[in-house]
């Protein structure tokens, strides 16, 4: 999950000459992450505005009392358009509309029974109360327009609404916060500074409502939350990533990702990265290194809208814990399409079913998958920003 946001942030900034130059010359002006993140909660739930990119990311599988299934995604991004301290204004006058931060947000509902997918993307600046992150006592409020999440000590309250869609959930953590990587330091490449600070709530009990059109459904289920931030650009030669969050019925959770190199590098066996975390039912996290994971894409689906071909079926294995999983989509068309020139990314993000085995015992569950870079190369790195 973090990858989507990480690279979305790059896309927001990637085309600008200014940010390209900042990437080349000004990267040192953004703070870098080279070690443990020393999270202190609840402060850590708030924004880290000096970093280039940040997100609060919710996905989940829900069902009505009658068993009607839904999937959802609600993501709040923050991206900084330039390194701290570089803004100038007209002399002493400074408009309160002037800001370094943009706040995109994505909201999607997968109505698995009717096999319809609904989504909305919007971006505003963090100024004049259009969007922002603030503390209210022990709560952290992240909002964009009328969409928000309130992260409290005992629950998260998320809500979003458009004319056609609505989501209103209380999410209660069933496990303690999972600090990914090494104290939150999550590597994304061969260089030490190619990293983010990353923590997750891997299992949240969801209770609330979903609205599709004029119909409102009471729902319960399980959700997953990621909070991640970073500044440094990804390494060259990456064209996309595949990310998976898995919640097994036996209480184990898995976060796994891989970054895909371009064809040339792939043929030479160069580039790319992988990683993840295995979270036991008590919430203990076992970080996974690239060598710990095996990804095998299976059958594909071609989007009639974007014409991209996504591998929607996967085999993921973690040999060291004798875990092998088969990932299959709960619905095919779960693609968020961005118009050319809008600054957004077209990607597939949707609810998945999971089956497999661990140590010979059959396991099953559900989760979410995020697949990017299949609708065209995702612009990455300083070279592509020009």
């Amino acid at each position: 999950m973090p990858w989507m946001v990480f690279l979305l942030g790059l896309l927001l900034l990637g085309g600008t000459t200014f940010s390209a130059q900042a990437g080349k010359e000004g990267q040192s002006r953004f703070p870098t992450i080279t070690g443990p993140c020393d999270f202190v909660f609840p402060d850590a739930h708030g924004a880290h505005p000096d970093h280039r990119i940040e997100w609060w990311y919710y996905t989940g599988n829900l069902r009505t009392p009658q068993g009607r299934p839904f999937g959802f995604q609600l993501t709040f991004f923050r991206s900084r358009m330039h390194a701290p301290g570089t803004v100038t204004t007209h002399g002493e006058q400074r408009s309160t509309w002037r800001t370094a931060q943009l706040h995109p947000a994505h909201f999607a509902i997968s109505d698995l029974e009717s096999e319809t997918f609904h989504y909305e993307k919007r971006t505003v600046r963090a100024a004049v109360n259009l969007a922002g992150v603030s503390r209210q006592g022990d709560d952290v409020l992240v909002h964009q327009g009328g969409w928000s999440t309130v992260i409290g000590p005992d629950q998260h309250a998320i809500q979003a609404a458009t004319v056609d869609l609505g989501l209103d959930l209380r999410l209660i953590p069933k496990k303690p916060v999972a600090i990914q990587g090494n104290g939150g330091y999550s590597r994304k490449g061969s260089r030490p500074e190619s990293a983010s600070c990353y923590y997750s709530f891997t299992r949240l009990a969801a209770d609330g409502t979903v609205r599709v059109g004029d119909q409102t459904f009471p729902v319960t289920g399980e959700a997953w939350m990621d909070h991640e931030y970073a500044s440094n650009l990804l390494e060259e030669g990456l064209v996309g990533w595949d990310w998976f969050s898995v919640q097994l019925d036996d209480g184990w959770d898995l976060m796994a990702f891989r970054l895909r190199p371009d064809e040339q590098r792939a043929r030479l066996g160069q580039g790319g990265w992988a990683g993840g975390g295995l979270i036991d039912p008590q919430g203990r996290v076992t970080p996974l290194e690239p060598e710990d994971l095996r990804f095998t894409p299976g059958r594909t689906w071609t989007s009639p809208r974007s014409k991209a071909t996504y591998p929607l079926w996967w085999e993921i294995a973690v040999p060291k814990v004798e875990l092998s999983l088969t990932i299959s989509p709960r619905m095919l068309a779960q693609e968020l399409v961005s118009e050319p020139g809008s600054g957004g990314v077209t990607y597939w993000e949707g609810a998945v079913e999971v089956r497999g085995a661990r140590s010979g015992e059959a396991v099953s569950g559900h989760g979410y998958a995020e697949l990017t870079g299949y609708a065209g190369p995702v612009p990455l790195g300083p070279g592509s920003a020009e």
Binding site: F18, M81, S95, R125, G145, T162, V163, G341, G343
Partner: protein, 876 residues
């Protein structure tokens, strides 16, 4: 050969052979038709261009906006954008801050600088007819670089600039350089103002326009917030959203459909467009009359040929078709001749009309002429139809007459009974015109008034037979007292005119129409000029006028800076002058835009004056000065049928006003009219005391004009004068006068054309009368009548026709002038003038008209004396 081709072959030989002998007259008619068609198409294209420019321009500016939040008085707190976006039904909410700004060192070039939240603007416009059409990368560059903008290609080409260059714009606080991040593509928003537009982030524009930090606090201000609701909502859903949003808005704002401003603009222009449409049709009818005259003449001249055709068995439809075809052919050839004229006339007409609208009504966001194919088809179709209708009467007469009647060459006469019927019809027309003149106020349209004018002309023309007969009788009696002095010609002319038929009446009717138009327009223009000059000198009083640059174009949204105010106060006091600051808000109400102006009414009553139309100045001014009422312009009052004592109600800057109208004044500042409120009283209610303009007076100066010129030069040279327009009162009043003078450009053209056509009509009618009475005239010659006596007869006829036309025309014209002033101008612009006649000007015109009528008789006399009597008397 098929019958149609046989007819065509015969037609060409029948008409072209004759036309060769009448080439001068035919060419004159073709020219008249060409001018008529060119004016018709040109004016219509100009009307279409102005409507389209207004509509498309405002649509381009508004994008996909469904609704707009505006502030009463012009400004909106921009922070409410966030509140609006919390509603799920709001797809996009965009704060917009726009100014028309001059370019440094290029004072004749102005650019519309548009500041918005570009991310939200992109969302609002995406997928619509006017997308923002810039990449996200460029968009974020504008957010990052504080003094950067996108420049429209029209402006870039004009200024010789490209991406990476800088352009310096003059703002309220002075010049500011902006880097051109990129050029706007010439589509969507880039087409506004024909590409003289620049787009920047709202933060950059707020910082550029801010007078001080208070202007930027708490989100600052915007001109408006454009709203786009989620696509696919039906009207009921939208109404529900509006009901939900409206209570959330601050008290000083309102929510309205995005096209309301366009609709109110179109309403403001509707009467002007109706007037222009009428002018376009009048020009065509001028051509129609010329065709009627020529075909009448030809039909009369060729009666013999027609008789032979009929005697040889030709059906009735043959002469009908020949002369109708002649009319149509004249129309076709006239249209071809109109093409080069239209190429010259149309752009000039469009430019003039667009400029008039810009000056008098509202700013047009673009100035482009569009030639729609259907307009060409309309011109062709209408011209052909009008030409055929014009030729119908003479063609029908030619077809109706039997061969024997045709050979007999019966003259145009009428019976007593026929005259009574004509007179009665005329009286009915005149009476029918009266209620039509009273209708426009109720129907909000000028067409009833124009129909009334038409009935007035027709009714007056239909009085011709009895007036002509009465004049002829009177002339016969008068001249009969000294027959030796006047000769027999006058008696014969009088007797002939006493029996004059419809064709003569039509010619006189044309003369009446032309003279009536001339008299009416002359009186109207003189009345206007007289009243207007008094207004300019009294109400637009002031020796110096200071406003932020392009204040009118920017609807007075900016204020004069504090430093400039301080300088003005100090300098004015040092020179013993007086300042009269004012504020002006642009509002809309009852479907029309108008202005709300605050100034010290007590001071103004000593430094200038209003021209009261209704209300007592002695009581109205003190009441207004104490804030116990408002003084309104006639324009505002007429559009809303408001009178003294009625209430003016509005919410301005959150201040709820409900105050009586204590005076209605003449005011020729258009754009919907003005409400005058006292300055101190409005501030006491909570109004903002900022100066949006100031008049400066030097009442004690020996030479106020020189003092004004010195003041102007000093302020222009001082830093405080940066970003200000400083105009002397003399220059301003001259400019205002010139603007209004140019609006009568087309009417002056119309007056000239009308008189010319009337002269041609008289000439043709006299020639036709000669042709019809050839036997009579040549019998007189055979019996010893001299050439001089024949000439005298014809000249007396012309003189009496001219005299009757002049008398009826004058009477009709004076009535028409009252209609123009009290009905048409009132409805069209909302104002009236003090009725004033320049008798000297009219007195000079009437003899000229008589002389023209006599001159028109010369061709008829030549025709009458062309053939030897014996030849003319031969039986054919």
């Amino acid at each position: 050969m098929p019958q149609p081709f046989r007819f065509l072959n015969f037609f060409l030989r029948f008409n072209l052979r004759h036309a060769r002998g009448q080439w001068a007259r035919t060419l004159a008619v073709l020219l008249g038709v060409a001018v008529g068609a060119a004016v018709f198409s040109g004016v219509r294209l100009a009307i279409d261009a102005s409507s389209r420019n207004l509509t498309q321009g405002m649509d381009l500016i508004a994008g996909n906006a469904d609704f707009v939040v505006t502030g009463q008085g012009g400004l909106v707190p921009a922070r409410i954008t966030a509140e609006l976006l919390t509603d799920p039904a709001v797809h996009a909410a965009v704060p917009v801050l726009e100014r028309i700004l001059a370019v440094a060192h290029q004072p004749e070039v102005t650019i519309r600088l548009r500041g918005t939240d570009l991310i939200l603007e992109d969302r609002l416009r995406r997928g619509g007819h006017a997308p923002l059409d810039i990449s996200f990368a460029v968009l974020t560059d504008l957010l990052i670089q504080p003094r950067s903008l996108l420049l429209g290609q029209g402006a870039a080409e004009r200024l010789g600039l490209s991406a990476g260059d800088t352009v310096t714009l003059i703002g309220p606080s002075g010049p500011q350089a902006f880097e051109i991040a990129d050029l706007l593509p010439p589509r969507g928003l880039g087409r506004v103002e024909d590409g003289f537009i620049a787009v920047a982030d709202i933060a950059a524009v707020q910082e550029f326009l801010a007078g001080d930090s208070r202007d930027l606090a708490d989100g600052g201000v915007a001109d408006r917030i454009d709203l786009r609701l989620s696509p696919g909502m039906n009207d009921l859903d939208r109404e529900a959203v509006l009901a939900r949003l409206s209570p959330k808005l601050p008290a000083q704002t309102s929510l309205a459909p995005a096209d309301q401003r366009r609709e109110s603009g179109m309403m403001l222009l509707s009467a002007y467009h109706e007037s222009l449409t009428l002018i376009s049709f009048v020009s065509l009818f001028v051509g129609m009359f010329l065709i009627y005259s020529l075909v009448s003449l030809n039909a009369a001249a060729r009666r013999g040929e027609v008789a032979v055709l009929r005697a040889l068995g030709g059906p009735r439809w043959l002469p009908l078709g020949l002369f109708l075809g002649e009319g149509a052919l004249l129309a076709v050839l006239g249209l071809l001749a109109a093409l080069p004229l239209a190429l010259v006339f149309t752009p000039r007409a469009a430019n003039l009309i667009n400029r008039t609208i810009d000056d008098l009504f509202l700013r047009l966001p673009s100035q482009t002429l569009h030639l729609a194919p259907w307009e060409i088809g309309l011109t062709i179709g209408v011209t052909l139809i009008v030409a055929v209708l014009a030729a119908l009467h003479p063609a029908w007469e030619a077809a109706r007459a039997s061969p024997r009647e045709a050979l007999a060459m019966l003259a145009d006469t009428s019976s007593h009974g026929q005259n009574r019927r004509i007179t009665f019809s005329g009286i009915c027309c005149l009476l029918g015109a009266i209620p039509l003149f009273l209708l426009p106020a109720a129907l909000n349209s000028l067409w009833p008034a124009y129909c009334g004018v038409f009935l007035l002309f027709v009714g007056s023309a239909l009085q011709t037979p009895w007036v002509l007969a009465a004049a002829a009788r009177a002339m016969e009696r008068t001249t009969g007292l000294r027959p030796a002095l006047f000769g027999p010609g006058v008696k014969l002319a009088c007797r002939s005119l006493r029996r004059a038929g419809p064709r003569t009446s039509i010619a006189v009717g044309a003369l009446i129409t032309a003279l009536a138009l001339y008299v009416a327009l002359s009186v109207m223009i003189h009345s206007f000029r007289t009243t207007f000059l008094v207004w300019v000198e009294n109400t637009v009083s002031g020796d110096v006028f200071v406003t932020p640059a392009n204040a009118e174009a920017n609807e007075y949204r900016d204020a004069i800076s504090q430093s400039a105010q301080d300088w003005i106060l100090a300098q004015t006091a040092a020179q013993g002058g007086q300042v009269l600051p004012y504020r002006r808000a642009y509002l809309e109400g009852d479907g029309y835009p108008y202005q709300f102006e605050t100034m010290d009414m007590s001071a103004f009553s000593t430094l200038g004056s209003f021209l009261f139309k209704h209300g007592d100045p002695g009581s109205a001014l003190p009441a207004a000065a104490q804030g116990q009422g408002v003084i309104v312009s006639e324009t505002w009052a007429v559009r809303r049928s408001v009178g003294i004592g009625d209430r003016f109600q509005a919410v301005i800057e959150g201040i709820r006003l409900d105050t009586p109208v204590v005076g209605i004044v003449r005011d020729y500042r258009t754009r919907g009219g003005v409400i005058y409120h006292d300055w101190d009283a409005f501030i006491a209610l909570g109004g903002n005391p900022r100066w949006e303009g100031v008049r400066i007076y030097f009442p004690e100066a020996d030479n106020p004009q020189a003092a004004a010129a010195r003041f102007r030069a000093a302020l222009a040279a001082h830093p405080a004068g940066q970003g200000l327009d400083v105009t002397t009162g003399v220059d301003l009043r001259n400019l205002v006068t010139d603007i209004f003078t140019q609006t009568f450009g087309i009417t002056a053209l119309l007056m000239g054309v009308a008189l010319l056509v009337a002269g041609v009509g008289v000439a043709t009618t006299l020639a036709v009368r000669v042709l019809e009475r050839r036997k009579e005239l040549n019998t007189l010659r055979a019996l010893g009548g001299s050439r001089g006596q024949i000439r005298a007869l014809i000249f007396w006829e012309a003189g009496i026709i001219g005299l009757v036309g002049a008398v009826l025309g004058l009477a009709c014209g004076l009535i028409l002038s009252v209609v123009f002033i009290e009905v048409i101008n009132k409805q069209g612009f909302g104002w009236t003038f003090v009725f004033s006649v320049n008798w000297r000007e009219l007195g000079l015109a009437l003899p000229g008209l008589l002389a023209a009528a006599l001159a028109a008789a010369v061709p008829a006399t030549v025709l009458a004396l062309r053939d030897p009597p014996a030849e003319a008397l031969k039986e054919r």
